[in-house]
Amino acid sequence: MQIILEAEGLSKTYGEKTALNALHLKLSKGEIFSLLGPNGAGKSTTINLFLGFIQPSAGAARINGVDASKDPVGVKQHLAYIPEQVMLYQNLSGRENLSLLSALAGFEYSQSALDQFLVEAGLQADAINKRVGSYSKGMRQKVGIAAAVAKNAKVLLLDEPTSGLDPKASNEFSELLLRLSAAGTTIFMATHDIFRAREVSQRIGIMKAGSLIDEINAAKLNAGELEQLYLDYMKG
C-alpha cells in the first residue's frame, strides 16, 4: 500500500492553546478520508499544515514523501487545495483563472485543453469564457477541481467543500470526487457534512479540541448511526 499523505505526531500550538494535538494519519493512493468535527476542532489547522501555510510545533506533515514544513513549495507540486469558498479572479474568465493556476504549477495548456478540463469538471461550455464574477459557488468549485486535475495532483485537500451547495450540486460534487479517487487521487476532506462524508469516504475521522478521537470505517455505519456517534462524541 503506497502511503501518499501522512501526518506523524503533527501538532500545532499557539501559546498555551493547542490547535492540533499529535495527529497520526496515513492515507493511501486513491483513498478518500473525511475529517468531521465542530468549528475550532483543528480541521483547517491540519489542512494549513499540509499546505505549509503554517509551521508545525511538532511532528511532520508529508505528501508523497515531501515534508510540508521543510519544502513548502515542493509539497505543492503534489497537492491541490479547494477551500470552502473557491475565490478566483472575478474579472477574469474561468479559462483564464485555470490557465493561471495550472501555469503556476508548471503546466501550460492550449485553450482547447483548458476547456476540456473545465468541461470534465462539470462546467458548462458556455460559461468557460464568462467572467468568474458571474459564477455560482458550485461553478467556482468546478474550476478548482479542473485546476487539481490539470496539475495532475496526487492529493486533493478539501475544506468544507459542500457547505452552501444545493443538493444537486452537492451530489455532482460527490460523483466527481469518486471519479477522481478511482483515477488514483487521494482525497482529504474536512467537513461538517456527515451524509456526504459517509457517502464518499472509506474512512472518517472525528476530531474534537485538536485531537483525532476516533477513526471509523465508513462502510460499517449507516448515516444515522454515524450521526448519532458523532453527536455522542460532541456531548462527551
Binding site: F53, Q55, G74, K76, Q77, P83, M87, L104
Partner: protein, 460 residues
C-alpha cells in the same frame, strides 16, 4: 523566472479589467498633463514680460531723446533712464517653476544706490504663493506618491481579502515571488507613467533632452521606488487594506506635508535673517543722510574709492549730479558688509534646509528637480549677485561721463551694458540629492525585506 513572467502577464490582465486602477492611471496622466501645461503657461507669462522689456527700454530711450535732444548730463540719464536685468528661464524651468513664481523675472535698474533695487518684486496673491505652482514637479513630488499608494496599498491584502491568495499559494509558488511580481508590475506601470509624462513635458516645453533629463528621470524613479518600498514594508505586515491605506497616507502626510513645514520652521529658528531689514534701513539712512552731510566730506570719501575722478570739478553751490551719485555710492558701500552677511545667511539657510531635507524625500526631490531646472533659491541669489555686478558695470559706463564732464550723446545708449541671466543647472547639488534618495531607498528596501521576512513565515 517563468512564474514571474506568468504572474506579470496575469497582473496585466487583471489591471486591464480593474476600472478603478485604470481610472487612477488616467487621473495621474491628466494631472501630469495639466502640470506641464500650467508650468509652461507660467513660464510663457514670464517670457512675455521679459520680451516686453525691450519695448519699454526703447521707449525710455526715445523719451530721453525727446527730453534731451542734443546731448545730456549723464546724471540726468542715470536718474531718468532704466535698464533691465533679465532672468531668462531655461525651458526646463517649465517643469519645475521652483522659486521663479516668487522671485522676479527681471529687475529694473537705475544708476542710483543699488541695494534697494535688488529686492523689488511684484505684488502677488499670497494665497497663490502658499499653494505653490501646479507644475510637473508638483505632480511628481506630491501626487505621484498618492498614485503609488493607490495602486499598491492593497498589494497583498487585496488577494487575501478576496480569497485568491490561499489558492495561489496552494500552487508551487513562493509568497516572495508573488510579492516580487506585484512590485515589478507596479514599478513598470509607474515608470511608464513617469517616462511618458517626462517625454511629453520635454516635447511640449522644448526642454533640451541632455544630462538633465537623465538626472530628472533617475531622481523621480528613485523616489517612486522609495514609495513602492514603503508600501511593501507596510503590506508585509499582512494587515487589512484599510490599515495599509491609512498607514501609508499617514507616512505621506508626515513626509510630504509636515516634515517640510518643520524643516522651514527649524531653519527660521536656527538661522534667522535679520540682515535683510537691517540692510534696507541702514542703506536708506545712509543715502538720505547724504543730503545733510557736508559735500566736501562726501566727495573725499568717494574719491578714496575712485581716485581717478579726484580732479573732477567742485560740487559746492548748486545741485550737482556728481555729488548726488557719490552719496548714492557711499550708501551702497555702507551696507556692503551687511549685504555680504545677508547673502551668506541666505546661503547658510539654504544649506541647512538642504541638510535637513534628508529626512523628507519629497523635500529632497523638490530640491533636486528645482536644481535641475535652475529654479532653486541658490540660482535666484546668483541672479541677484549678477545684477549687482551689472550695476557695477553700469557705473563703470556712466561714471566717466559724470566725473570727467563728458556730454552723454544719444548714440551712447547703444554702448550701454546689458545683462541677461540664465540659471545653469546645479548638477552637484542634484547629484548629492539623488544620492540621498538612493540612501533612502536602501533603508526602506532593507526595512521592507526585514518586515517581509519576519511577518510572512506563516500565512496570517
Amino acid at each position: 523566472m517563468k512564474q514571474l513572467r506568468i504572474l506579470l502577464h496575469f497582473e496585466w490582465l487583471n489591471f486591464k479589467t480593474e476600472k478603478s486602477l485604470v481610472a487612477f492611471c488616467l487621473l495621474m496622466l491628466l494631472s501630469g498633463f495639466y502640470g506641464i501645461f500650467s508650468g509652461h503657461y507660467e513660464l510663457k507669462k514670464q517670457r512675455n514680460k521679459i520680451a516686453g522689456l525691450e519695448q519699454i527700454y526703447q521707449a525710455n530711450i526715445r523719451e530721453m531723446g525727446e527730453k534731451f535732444p542734443d546731448s545730456a548730463d549723464a546724471g540726468d540719464i542715470g536718474y531718468y533712464h532704466s535698464a533691465f536685468a533679465k532672468n531668462h528661464p531655461d525651458n526646463w524651468a517649465a517643469l519645475a517653476i521652483g522659486q521663479r513664481d516668487v522671485s522676479p523675472a527681471y529687475l529694473k535698474i537705475r544708476l542710483l544706490a543699488v541695494q534697494n533695487q535688488l529686492y523689488n518684486s511684484e505684488n502677488t496673491n499670497p494665497l497663490k504663493l502658499a499653494t505653490g505652482s501646479f507644475d510637473l514637479s508638483f505632480v511628481m513630488v506630491f501626487l505621484l506618491p498618492l498614485f503609488i499608494i493607490a495602486i499598491s496599498f492593497n498589494l497583498l491584502s487585496a488577494e487575501k481579502e478576496q480569497g485568491t491568495l490561499r489558492l495561489l499559494l496552494a500552487q508551487p509558488l513562493k509568497l516572495s515571488t508573488l510579492f516580487l511580481a506585484k512590485i515589478i508590475f507596479r514599478f513598470l506601470l509607474i515608470a511608464a507613467m513617469v517616462i511618458l509624462l517626462s517625454i511629453t513635458a520635454l516635447l511640449w516645453t522644448g526642454a533640451a533632452p541632455d544630462l538633465r533629463a537623465l538626472y530628472w528621470l533617475l531622481a523621480i524613479l528613485l523616489y517612486a521606488i522609495f514609495w513602492l518600498g514603503t508600501s511593501c514594508a507596510i503590506a508585509a505586515l499582512q494587515r487589512s487594506s484599510a490599515f495599509n491605506a491609512i498607514s501609508l497616507l499617514g507616512v505621506w502626510l508626515m513626509l510630504a506635508v509636515i516634515a517640510p513645514v518643520l524643516i522651514n520652521a527649524a531653519t527660521d529658528i536656527s538661522k534667522p535673517v535679520q540682515e535683510g531689514l537691517q540692510l534696507t534701513m541702514v542703506q536708506r539712512e545712509a543715502v538720505h543722510g547724504g543730503w545733510d552731510k557736508p559735500k566736501a566730506e562726501t566727495m573725499d570719501r568717494f574719491f578714496k574709492h575712485y581716485p581717478q575722478y579726484s580732479n573732477t570739478g567742485s560740487v559746492e553751490g548748486a545741485f550737482k549730479w556728481k555729488w548726488y551719485y557719490a552719496f548714492q555710492e557711499l550708501g551702497d558701500r555702507s551696507v556692503e558688509t551687511l549685504y555680504k552677511a545677508y547673502r551668506q545667511k541666505m546661503l547658510d539657510r539654504l544649506s541647512l534646509a538642504s541638510n535637513l531635507s534628508v529626512v523628507s524625500p519629497p523635500a529632497k526631490l523638490q530640491e533636486v528637480l528645482n536644481g535641475i531646472a535652475g529654479t532653486e533659491l541658490q540660482q535666484h541669489l546668483d541672479f541677484i549677485a549678477g545684477t549687482k555686478a551689472y550695476h557695477d558695470r553700469l557705473k563703470a559706463f556712466y561714471y566717466p561721463y559724470l566725473y570727467q564732464d563728458r556730454a552723454f550723446q544719444h548714440a551712447d545708449f547703444a554702448k550701454e551694458p546689458q545683462y541677461s541671466f540664465t540659471a545653469a543647472p546645479d548638477y552637484t547639488k542634484s547629484a548629492s540629492g539623488i544620492l540621498v534618495l538612493l540612501a533612502a531607498n536602501v533603508l526602506v528596501s532593507l526595512l521592507a525585506i526585514f518586515m517581509f521576512k519576519t511577518n510572512t513565515k506563516e500565512l496570517k
